[in-house]
């Protein structure tokens, strides 16, 4: 099966800044691919290059089996991070406009079913400027999917949504995937990446630092994490040689062990000092991995 998207040695610079540096990536058809990475690391630039809005300085991009651009783009839906709608247009008109631009079949029927799904049916004849923020986000999502794309690219689809609306979008994404649509989404929400995405790709300073399933990524790091709940929280955890770092979530602390460090030493030390309510030997969370790569400590290492 040809991959939905294939990037090969792609580089893009803006003046002195290398936004994306020698990036290769293969997105299998029918998967949900999550892009993570700190702000300004190159996620949006990569998505824009896949959308043929930016052209790479070097390297090649194939979308749905074809060199970039041209008629295959008619099958790609795009929800950019920076998004707006024509305020003076009616919801129905704007959806029809985007649908027609992509050669949608049965725009009206599609529109009707999507508006119904998002409980917006009564808003079709209202002007966009009367919509709430959540509603207009949903309208924007519909505009990206109304023409039944084969590939859907969503830049931060959940930002600014309340849990109910986020759930609605999430279930729509899963439904599309089950119909065979490939979805690429970028997110800052690690739990979304962990639970929704088949593959996770992390970009940092323009370079690929993680790429694979959650399991394969966690395998790289091994069972080097101890998740504890103790009376006294982080302050109660002693300073031991085997500890590389502590990620404090408040009620829960994740202890990152040094390579070959024995968790038993920590358990013993904790029992000596406080009451241990839970002690779990586990793999690092995506959040933890993200911080190890891009957090303040990592930055110090990088500069050193």
């Amino acid at each position: 099966m040809t991959p939905a998207v294939e990037l090969c040695g792609v580089t893009k610079s803006f003046q002195q800044l290398k936004a994306v540096n020698d990036l290769s990536l293969t997105v299998p058809e029918g998967s949900i691919y999550g892009f993570i990475g700190p702000n300004g690391s190159g996620k949006t630039t990569t998505l824009r290059m896949i959308m043929n809005i930016f052209y790479p300085d070097s390297g090649s991009i194939r979308v749905l089996g074809r060199e970039n651009g041209g008629p295959c783009m008619e099958q790609v839906g795009y929800l950019p991070e920076e998004r707006g709608l024509y305020k003076k247009m009616k919801v129905g008109e704007i959806l029809e406009f985007y649908g027609n631009l992509k050669r949608a079949q049965n725009v009206r029927a599609e529109m009707k079913s999507w508006l119904k799904r998002f409980e917006l049916s009564s808003w079709a004849d209202k002007k966009v400027e009367t919509l709430s923020k959540g509603m207009s986000q949903k309208v924007q999502f519909i505009s990206a999917v109304i023409f039944r794309p084969r590939l859907l690219i969503l830049d931060e689809p959940f930002s600014g949504l309340d849990p109910v609306n986020a759930e609605g979008i999430k279930s729509a994404i899963l439904d599309l995937r089950s119909q065979g649509v490939t979805v690429i989404l970028s997110t800052h929400d690690m739990s979304v990446a962990e639970t929704l995405c088949d593959y996770i790709f992390m970009i940092f300073r323009g370079r690929k630092v993680l790429d694979g399933t959650l399991h394969s990524i966690q395998d790289q790091y091994g069972d080097d994490t101890v998740r504890v709940q103790v009376d006294g929280g982080k302050a109660a955890i002693p300073d031991l040689d085997v500890i590389e770092g502590i990620n404090d979530y408040g009620q829960v602390q994740e202890i990152h062990l040094k390579r070959g460090g024995d968790p038993q030493i920590i358990l013993k030390a904790l029992l000596d000092r406080t009451r241990v309510r839970s002690f779990e030997l586990t793999r690092p969370s995506l959040h933890d991995i993200f911080l190890r790569i891009a957090g303040p400590q990592a930055k110090e290492n990088h500069h050193a």
Partner: protein
């Protein structure tokens, strides 16, 4: 092409459906013709207060004739002919004042003070040597002193009786009694007429028709203002529209569906639609108004396709300029700064149209009308005059405009493509050149 059409349709409806468009459709021609209407109304709103004018006649032979002339005029023109009680014009009340030869300047100062106090409207000084003036000697002058003498109707009126009297005196000096020559002072205007034409079908000769100022200036002016107005109506809103799309983050959503070039051309096509709508409205209004007035303004039919083609190309050109400038703007302030440079090339013809109309065959007019940015306005302007300009010129102008349009669209599309997603300050000129070069 299909996408350009979809965008054009949206842009057209978005522009035409607004109240602003309807208001603009009505207000713009009112403002343009407002000057003419204002002058016409003000001319009817004459100040009917009587005007007192002092005459200082150093010859002693002119003032009485002026008094007689004023009395005749007052009897004829001050009151409405049918309604004798309705005053429609001021009476001119002339007052003869003996010159004080020793202290003329003092006398003029006193008269000037009377004018300043509102006691007099003006005073006229007739020099002693007015019948046989010598060059560079002020004694032969006639001068009219008032607060605002330049635009004074009375000064213009006085010209005739003063000169009639001067001639009468000169005739008398050689022994001719002016009253013996009937029509001595009857002035004949020269009528402007077109050329006589031969009808090739029946061999008859068609008489020349009067061609006054209205046909000489009126038609070219109407053609030019219409072209300019329609250009502004279609092209100039693109700058703000694009700026808003960029500002409100609509741009990237749209760019997910089409190429920047298609988007820009769709916008330009929408602008052409807006202009043609305006043109249809104005032309039908204009023609119905003219036929109601019974004035058949003789619009040469060959001109209409030229005006149309030039207008469409002009909108392509300026629409691309405005759209690409709009893509550089982040806020209203940027847009305001860039609007004038954008439309300046379209405004320049408005400053030079008069010499072009007066002498459409001059080198100046020819060269100016072959500069592609000016051609769409100036070439139809020249073609609508009575002169027949060389047949090659509209075609060469057209070729120039097509070439310029392609160039401007190409450059505009490159700027638009990068500008529409670029954030931050307006790029410097060298940066712009780099954008254009790199694509």
């Amino acid at each position: 092409m299909r996408k350009i059409w979809i965008v054009a349709r949206r842009e057209y409806l978005a522009a035409v459906k607004t109240k602003g468009f309807l208001i603009g459709l009505i207000i713009a021609p009112l403002m343009m013709s407002g000057g003419i209407i204002a002058i016409a109304t003000l001319r009817d709103q004459v100040d009917t207060k009587d005007k007192k004018i002092a005459i200082v006649d150093h010859t002693g032979k002119v003032a009485d004739a002026l008094l007689a002339g004023a009395a005749e005029r007052n009897a004829r023109e001050v009151y409405d002919e049918t309604n004798k009680k309705k005053k429609i014009n001021p009476a001119y009340l002339l007052e003869k004042i003996n010159p004080e030869t020793g202290s003329a300047d003092r006398q003029y100062l006193a008269l000037s003070d009377r004018v300043r106090q509102g006691d007099l409207h003006a005073f006229l000084v007739i020099g002693p040597e007015v019948f046989h003036p010598v060059k560079d000697k002020p004694e032969g002058n006639v001068s009219y002193h008032a607060k605002n003498p330049g635009l004074d109707d009375i000064r213009r009126w006085l010209g005739n009786p003063v000169n009639d009297q001067i001639r009468r005196v000169r005739l008398a000096e050689v022994g001719i009694d002016a009253t013996q020559v009937k029509d001595l002072f009857q002035w004949r205007p020269i009528d402007g007429m077109g050329l006589v034409e031969l009808n090739p079908k029946d061999g008859t000769i068609r008489k020349a028709e009067p061609r006054g100022e209205l046909t000489a200036i009126g038609l070219p002016m109407a053609v030019m203002f219409l072209s300019f107005l329609l250009l502004m109506m279609g092209a100039s809103p693109l700058l703000n529209a694009v700026m808003e799309e960029k500002n409100q983050r609509i741009a990237e959503v749209v760019l997910g569906s089409l190429r920047p070039f298609e988007w820009m051309m769709g916008k330009v096509a929408g602008a052409i639609g807006v202009s043609l709508t305006g043109m249809a409205v104005y032309l039908s209004l204009g023609f119905s108004a003219l036929s109601n007035m019974g004035t058949a303004l003789d619009v040469p039919t060959f001109l209409v396709p030229w005006i149309l083609v030039y207008l469409v190309l002009n909108i392509c050109m300026f629409g691309s300029i405005m759209a690409s400038l709009g893509s550089l703007c982040n806020d209203i302030k940027d847009a305001q700064n860039l609007t004038l440079p954008g439309i300046l090339p379209a405004i320049i013809p408005m400053f030079i149209w008069l010499p072009v109309v007066k002498q459409p065959l001059s080198t100046f007019a020819t060269v100016a009308s072959l500069i592609p940015f000016f051609t769409p306005i100036l070439m139809p302007l020249r073609m609508s005059t009575m002169e027949s300009i060389p047949a090659w010129q509209p075609w060469v102008g057209l070729a120039g405009v097509i070439a310029a349009t392609l160039g401007v669209v190409w450059v505009g599309a490159r700027i638009f493509r990068i500008g529409i997603l670029a954030q931050g300050k307006i790029p410097s000129f060298p940066e712009l050149v780099r954008w254009i070069a790199r694509g």
